[in-house]
């Protein structure tokens, strides 16, 4: 290549490279957006749970955003064993205390099984354990089951909306945002 064309060829090369890179970045962004959850999935809204007829000490499983939600109305026996720290995890409606949590192990997302005789949860996947307030008692899970955003509405609970009680839980680190 003659010397006098070098500058021009370099320029053409850089211009081509620049536009190719620009197009490449654009294509990558489009690819990323294509993999994003769809708006219809994102909008999967709110679930209202009526807690007025929930029996004591029996685990109820509901569904919110495709995830299982555990509801366990604490018995007197359970309440006597709850530590001060774990009290914060419970939702008080009237005189009743409810454990409401996303029923997915905080380790890798299996559903822990409830054991009525010992009033605790055991995750069969990797052996993690939780007490009746769904706080972790045995590793590998790093923390208790996450509490879904909720708002108390009389005897009902609206999942997906953030009420003052939930915001307080977030602030003092009782749960992480789900």
């Amino acid at each position: 290549m003659a010397n006098n064309t070098k500058g021009r060829r370099d320029f053409i090369g850089m211009a081509l490279g620049g536009f190719t890179a620009l197009g490449g970045i654009g294509a990558l962004y489009a690819a990323k957006r294509t993999w994003d959850p769809l708006p219809s999935v994102k909008a999967a809204g709110f679930t209202t749970l009526d807690l007025s007829n929930v029996p004591e000490g029996v685990l109820i499983t509901e569904k919110w955003r495709g995830k299982p939600i555990f509801i366990l109305r604490q018995t007197k026996d359970m309440m006597s064993k709850v530590s001060k720290k774990d009290m914060k995890r419970l939702i008080k409606i009237g005189d009743d205390h409810f454990m409401v949590a996303v029923g997915l192990c905080t380790h890798l997302g299996c559903i822990p099984g409830y054991r009525p005789e010992t009033q605790d949860f055991l995750c069969a996947c990797h052996g993690g354990m939780y007490n009746s307030t769904a706080d972790v008692t045995k590793a590998p899970p790093p923390r208790g089951l996450d509490i879904p955003p909720f708002k108390i509405d009389g005897k009902k609970l609206v999942l997906g909306e953030q009420g003052p009680e939930y915001k307080k839980m977030l602030e003092d680190g009782t749960t992480l945002p789900v």
Partner: protein
């Protein structure tokens, strides 16, 4: 322009040769591709793998004609349509399932053959690295394929493995949801893993297989003694007719005939499994349709992932993830962690001999512990075996740098 004989008949040998150089291609790729004589049946595993990949591809094409990547119909399209309606549909499914399992058995044999004979050392690093990339892409291919029947094991394996990407305390739920296209595995998840399984991963695998063959060309195949000899001289002797004196044989037809013999034995074993023992590759739990509200009592991966699963399991989340990450990449670094210049079978390499067998036994122990429930003594043995795995890799550069030069 090149010379084209106007009298050559279309598609005759001469006609093709002038246009495609078929004689040169044949010579370079097979009749003068030289393989050492001093090898054993373990050197046939590469072609056994290529043949098994071929079987997976062909059986996959037929399964693709009736499989439906939809959360409502996927399970029945496999377990009802393909298994009982489609003529010989069961054959493709059993070949595909057995093939996916057995291909890993052969990959492990192929890998450990390479480790034992030092076939990853100077000049052959890229063979090892491209091979390990194939191991990783085959793992991704196996995982994405396991999602497709949309049974309980599919669903919960999908849940657990995608959750690994939250990075423990990093709590990167956004990334996990991005991978899934949903809060939990659902339609978007099944569809994209279907795409990965039938198109993107196979394309990458085929590209890597070509690269893997390419990396072999210049350093040549290793031999049983790790002997470094002059291939050109050996090839000259062979071509002169001094076949006995030469240390090499041509790929075609000599080496290939040995390969085909080993493949023959292998296929007897393979089709025995396909016809009489396919159930080992068909987990009974996966014959329940996916249920997002119920985790099976025990979930475990297929046998070929158990060793790395057991490295994840005994630790708390964060160290567990670090340990798991370490186990996934450490084999890639083997050519650089082995500091000894010796290319020789492990039996001649002092301490490395014990290292090799210790690694093999440890991975077998991890595999067994991974299948057992994480309780009591099994947890303890699993933890010790996992720690021993790390100790071995940390010890490798030390023991190999002290190795005497042969």
């Amino acid at each position: 322009m090149a010379h084209f004989d106007e009298n050559a008949k279309p598609f005759s040998h001469k006609w093709l040769n002038e246009r495609l150089a078929i004689d040169t291609l044949q010579r370079v790729l097979s009749t003068e591709y030289w393989i050492p004589k001093n090898i054993n049946f373990l050197w046939a595993m590469g072609m056994v793998l290529a043949a098994t990949f071929g079987l997976l591809l062909i059986s996959g094409i037929f399964l693709l004609m009736y499989y439906q990547p939809n959360v409502n119909t996927a399970f029945d399209s496999v377990n009802y349509t393909i298994m009982s309606e489609v003529g010989y549909g069961w054959l493709w499914r059993h070949i595909h399932g057995v093939g996916a399992s057995v291909v890993f058995l052969i990959i492990y044999i192929h890998m450990f053959t390479g480790i034992y004979y030092g076939s990853y050392k100077r000049g052959r690093e890229l063979i090892w690295l491209s091979g390990m990339l194939l191991f990783i892409t085959f793992s991704a291919e196996a995982f994405s394929g396991y999602m497709l029947p949309w049974g309980q094991m599919s669903y919960w394996a999908g849940m657990v493995i995608t959750n690994l990407f939250s990075g423990g305390s990093l709590h990167a739920d956004g990334l996990v949801e991005w991978i899934r296209g949903d809060y939990v595995p659902g339609q978007a998840f099944l569809n994209r893993f279907f795409m990965l399984h039938v198109l993107l991963m196979p394309l990458i695998i085929i590209g890597l297989i070509v690269l893997h063959f390419g990396t072999l060309r210049i350093p040549h195949v290793n031999n049983q003694d790790g002997e470094d000899f002059d291939f050109e001289e050996a090839a000259r002797l062979y071509k002169e007719g001094k076949i006995k004196e030469s240390k090499v044989i041509p790929f075609k037809p000599v080496f290939l005939s040995k390969d085909v013999f080993v493949m023959g034995i292998y296929f007897i074993f393979f089709f025995y499994l396909v016809f009489y023992h396919f159930e080992f590759a068909m987990d009974p739990v996966n014959f329940d349709p996916a249920n997002p509200l119920k985790t099976p009592t025990h979930i475990y991966p297929e046998w070929y992932f158990l060793w790395s699963y057991e490295i994840l399991r005994p630790f708390p989340t964060d160290p567990g993830l670090v340990a798991f990450g370490f186990a996934q990449v450490i084999f890639l670094l083997l050519p650089f962690l082995d500091r000894s210049p010796n290319v020789a079978p492990a039996s001649k390499r002092g301490l490395f001999k014990y290292w090799f067998w210790a690694l093999l036994v440890d991975m077998i122990v991890l595999t067994f512990m991974g299948k057992l429930p994480p309780e009591g003594a099994w947890s303890v043995i699993g933890l010790i075996a996992a720690l021993f795995f790390f100790a071995l890799w940390i010890a490798l550069p030390i023991i190999t740098s002290k190795e005497k030069k042969l």
